[in-house]
């Protein structure tokens, strides 16, 4: 039942879905100033890519893609852990998570 998706849904549609999600993520990153939201949007982008991987994996019958999704998740988890820790730290210092305030890196 489930295994028939590749006969029903054209792969392009899934790819398009992935693209749309990715671009929504990009848009979120660009539009929002809340660092947490931005981080979330990055997660969204990662997920969009994950869909692609999973799709190609399923359509090509090659498990490697799914393994990559797995790795991406690993990296995402690590990224979120560190990123959020950083955010908390930033918040402690600046009382805000507004990215536009984070211009101390400039020299």
């Amino acid at each position: 039942m489930l295994m028939q998706i590749n006969h029903i849904v054209p792969i392009e549609h899934i790819i398009t879905l992935s693209c749309i999600l990715f671009c929504i993520g990009v848009m979120g990153v660009l539009l929002r100033r809340n660092a947490i939201i931005i981080l979330m949007c990055i997660e969204l982008m990662l997920n969009a890519v994950n869909i692609l991987f999973a799709t190609f994996s399923a359509y090509n019958g090659n498990p490697d893609g799914q393994i990559f999704v797995f790795f991406i998740m690993v990296v995402a988890a690590a990224e979120v852990a560190v990123g959020l820790a950083l955010l908390v730290l930033i918040y402690r210092n600046t009382r805000s998570v507004d990215v536009s305030l984070l211009d101390r890196l400039k020299w």
């Binding site: 039942m1 489930l2 295994m3 028939q4 998706i5 590749n6 006969h7 849904v9 549609h13 899934i14 398009t16 879905l17 693209c19 749309i20 999600l21 671009c23 929504i24 993520g25 990009v26 848009m27 979120g28 660009l30 539009l31 100033r33 947490i36 939201i37 979330m40 949007c41 997920n47 994950n50 999973a54 799709t55 994996s57 399923a58 359509y59 019958g61 090659n62 498990p63 490697d64 799914q66 393994i67 797995f70 998740m73 690993v74 990296v75 988890a77 690590a78 852990a81 959020l84 820790a85 955010l87 908390v88 730290l89 918040y91 402690r92 210092n93 805000s96 998570v97 507004d98 536009s100």
Partner: protein, 163 residues
């Protein structure tokens, strides 16, 4: 069958849009969780059980909880986020939009793929485990080191003495 997919896809996109446009960060998080659930559903449709469950555990169960936790910890309710200037907003929207345009254009340009195979059991844990621990064993180990590093890093960052 395909309706499930399109429903999920529609739902995912809708929720994703809400993630971006919702004022309240907590709502954003919740919408993102919904998006992730939809994506998990798509994984199921793609016969990727393992991914489905990992998506559930890792993204919904851990990452998003973490987000929510941080949001609550910092008590960032709505309206604390200052708005961007219109220029940046427009620029951002245009950039993202043209990005999508380009992506879709590229996609259009690619050749229509023919269906290749329909191996159904690749999403099973056994199958993935075999691949993971043979072909990808080194990246796997590296990933665990990465995790360790991330853990140590976040613990260190959380320490008060650091700043």
């Amino acid at each position: 069958m395909q309706y499930i997919f399109y429903t999920l896809a529609f739902f995912a996109i809708l929720c994703a849009l809400f993630v971006v446009f919702e004022k309240n960060p907590v709502h954003s998080v919740l919408y993102l969780i919904l998006t992730f659930f939809s994506i998990a559903g798509i994984y199921v449709l793609l016969n990727a059980q393992f991914l489905f469950i990992v998506q559930l555990i890792v993204y919904s169960g851990a990452i998003m909880v973490l987000f929510l936790f941080v949001l609550m910890l910092l008590n960032l309710n709505k309206d604390t986020e200052p708005q961007k200037s219109v220029i940046f907003k427009t620029a951002g929207a245009i950039a993202a939009g043209s990005f999508l345009l380009v992506l879709v254009a590229v996609l259009k340009d690619t050749q229509q793929s023919t269906e290749l195979s329909a191996m159904t059991d690749i999403g099973l844990v056994k199958q993935l485990g075999k691949t993971l621990f043979t072909k990808f064993v080194v990246p796997f180990e590296v990933a665990s080191i990465l995790f360790l590093a991330a853990m140590v890093g976040s613990v260190l960052l959380g320490k008060k003495e650091l700043y």
